[in-house]
Symmetry: C2
Subunit: 365 residues, 2 copies
Amino acid sequence: MKALVTQENLNKALSTVSKVASSRTTLPILSNILIKASKGSLKISATNLEMAVTAEFGAKVDEEGELTIPARLSTEFISSLPHENITLTSEGSNLLVSSTGYESVLNGTSSEEYPSLPTISSKNKITLKTAELKKALNQVLFASSSDDSRPVLTGVLFTNHDGFIYLVATDSYRLAEKRLVESKDDINCIVPASALTELSRIMNDTEEEVMLSWDDQQMRFSVGGVELITRLIDGKYPDYRQLIPAKGEFLMEIEKPSFVSVAKISGLFARESAGSITLHIDGDLGELVVSSVASQLGQNKATSKIVSSGSADITLNSKYLLDGLAAINSDGVDFSFSTKTTPCIMSAQGETDVDYKHVIMPLRS
Amino acid sequence: MKALVTQENLNKALSTVSKVASSRTTLPILSNILIKASKGSLKISATNLEMAVTAEFGAKVDEEGELTIPARLSTEFISSLPHENITLTSEGSNLLVSSTGYESVLNGTSSEEYPSLPTISSKNKITLKTAELKKALNQVLFASSSDDSRPVLTGVLFTNHDGFIYLVATDSYRLAEKRLVESKDDINCIVPASALTELSRIMNDTEEEVMLSWDDQQMRFSVGGVELITRLIDGKYPDYRQLIPAKGEFLMEIEKPSFVSVAKISGLFARESAGSITLHIDGDLGELVVSSVASQLGQNKATSKIVSSGSADITLNSKYLLDGLAAINSDGVDFSFSTKTTPCIMSAQGETDVDYKHVIMPLRS
C-alpha cells in the first residue's frame, strides 16, 4: 500500500470508525482497524462482530493494499498530527506514516486475520432525513432495556402500521413510541440499541440523508461516506399496542419546566426509595403536589399549577418521569392518566396528531 | 433557628463548603455540614478533620441557632430551587426549608455532635493577590506526590529566602519552584496539596485578595466571606536547593507548541514503556529529535527546530515533560541540560529574572 491523504480526512474516518474497535475482547484482532487502499480511495473499517462501521474517503493511491493497525493508538496519533498531507506506506504488515517532522511505524497485522465484514443485498430500502432520525433516536433509545435477560428489549423496534414507520423502545417499565415517516414498506426489525447509539454519534449534521436497507438478519445505515451494518435481534417483540392504552381517562396539562423542576427536586429526596415520588393531582384545586416518600435524609413537597380533568394519586419513578419529559420537545406537557395502577401517557401539549408518546408504568404505592 | 436568605447566597455558600464534607468516612457526621445562624448572618461549615471550610453571608435572622444537615442532599436541593427567598426554620434537630411552591424537611442532627472547628490566633500574616496565588498553585500543585509513604512530599512548601516567598512541590522525580512575592516574613510551612486544591477551587475571581495566617500547626486562608483552615504537614522538607542545579551546562531554546506536540505524539507510542521518550538534542544541526522506545504497537520519531549551545541524548517521562510545559506561560521555553543523568531545568524563554522553574530528573536509558 502507498497512499497520500490529508490529515483531516484520515482523522475524521478514524474517529468515526475506531470506537467500534474494542480492546476488551477475547479476540485481540478486534482492537485493530482494517485499512484498505483501492484506486482513488481509502476505506477504514472496524467491527465488534455485532456491527461493523466503514468510512471511505478520497486519497491518492499509488499502490493498492490492505492491513490492520491498532485502533486506539492510530486514532490518537493521527489526530495529534498537524493539518498536512500524510503518506501511508506498508512494509510487510506494518504501516509507515510520515508527515512533516514525523516518521512513525504502526505495527500491524495482515488483513487476512481480520474477520470478514458483513454485506447486505436487499430490495428493502428507505431514505430518511438525518436530523429526523437522530431526533427520533434521542427520543426512544433511552427507554430500551440494558438487561440481557430479555434480548428483544435491548433493541429498538422498527415497525410499520397505518402507513407509517414507527420506532419503539421499552424496558417494560416505560415505553417510547415515535412516528417517523409515511411509508408502505413492510418493516419489522429489532435493531440493537448499542448500534443505534453508535449510529447517532456517527450521523453528523452535514449529511442530509441516511439510507436504511435490511434483510431478515441485518440492517445497514448509509450516511455520506459512512456505512454501519448491524445484526438484528432475533425474537418476537411484545405486542405493545395491546398492553398500553391509547390515552387515559383524565388529562392533566402542565408547563414542562415546572413539571421538570418538581420531579427533579422530589427525586433528590427519593434516593433511598429508588426514586419513588408520588404525584397528587387535584383537578378541582388545579394543583399538582409531588411528594417524596419519607427517607432517612428528609422529605419534600413541591407544588405546581395545572389544569386537570380529574384527580388521582400516582406513584412514579422520578428518573423515568424526568427521562420522559426530556424527550418531549414542547413547552407544555399533556399527562394522561386513569387510576394509580394504570399506565400514564405523556405527549407534547395540545397536539391533535401526536407523533411521540411516552408511557410510564406507576409503582405500587 | 429562623432565618430568611436568598437562594443565590445559600447556594453559593453550600457549593463552596460541601465538597469538604465526605460520605466516605468512618465518622458519619462528617457527611453533614454545620449551619449556624447568628445576628445578621449565616455561617455554613464543613470539615474532614484535616481541613475546615466556612462560608459566611448576610441573612435576616429572627432566631439564632445551629444544627447539622446532610451536605450532598442540601446542596443539590438548594441549587435546584428557584431564585427566590428561602425560609429556614429549625424543628428539633431538623431543618424546615420553604420557598414558593416547596416545603421540605432536611433531617439533621444536633450541632453538639459535630467536631469543633479549628481556630487560629497568630501574628504571622501576609496578603496575596488571589489571581497570583491561584496561578502559582496551578504551576506547582501537580508536582506534589500522591504517595503517602513520604508525607512531606504530599504537600507544598511555603518558604522564604532572598527576601521572597517561594512555593515548592516535588514528588522526587520532578520539582516545581515558584517565586511569589517579596516578603521579610519567616515562613516554613508544608501545606497539604489536598487543601490547596480545595483552596484553588474556592478562590474566585471576584475577590482580589487572600490573607494567609499561620502558626506551627495550621494555616488559614481568608478570601471574601470564606475561610479555609488546614493542618500543616509535620516533618522536614528536603533541602531541594542542594539537590538541584541552578542551571545546566547547555541551553536549548524551543517554541513551546512545537515541544508540546513532539512530546505528546512520542508519548502516545511510549505507553508500554511507562511514558519513556528520548530527546536527541543536536546543537550543530539545530534539531531536536524525540523518539519513543520501540513498543509492541509501533514507534515514532518527531523532529523540531531548536537553537542549542550543546548536544545530548536525554530520556524523560513524557507525562512529566508535558505537565512541566503546561505550567510554563510563555511561547518559548528555555530547556537547560548537562548530561543524560543530570536534572533538566525548564523556564520561560529569555527571562533573566526567572520566577518559575521546573526541574525533571531523567530516566535511565
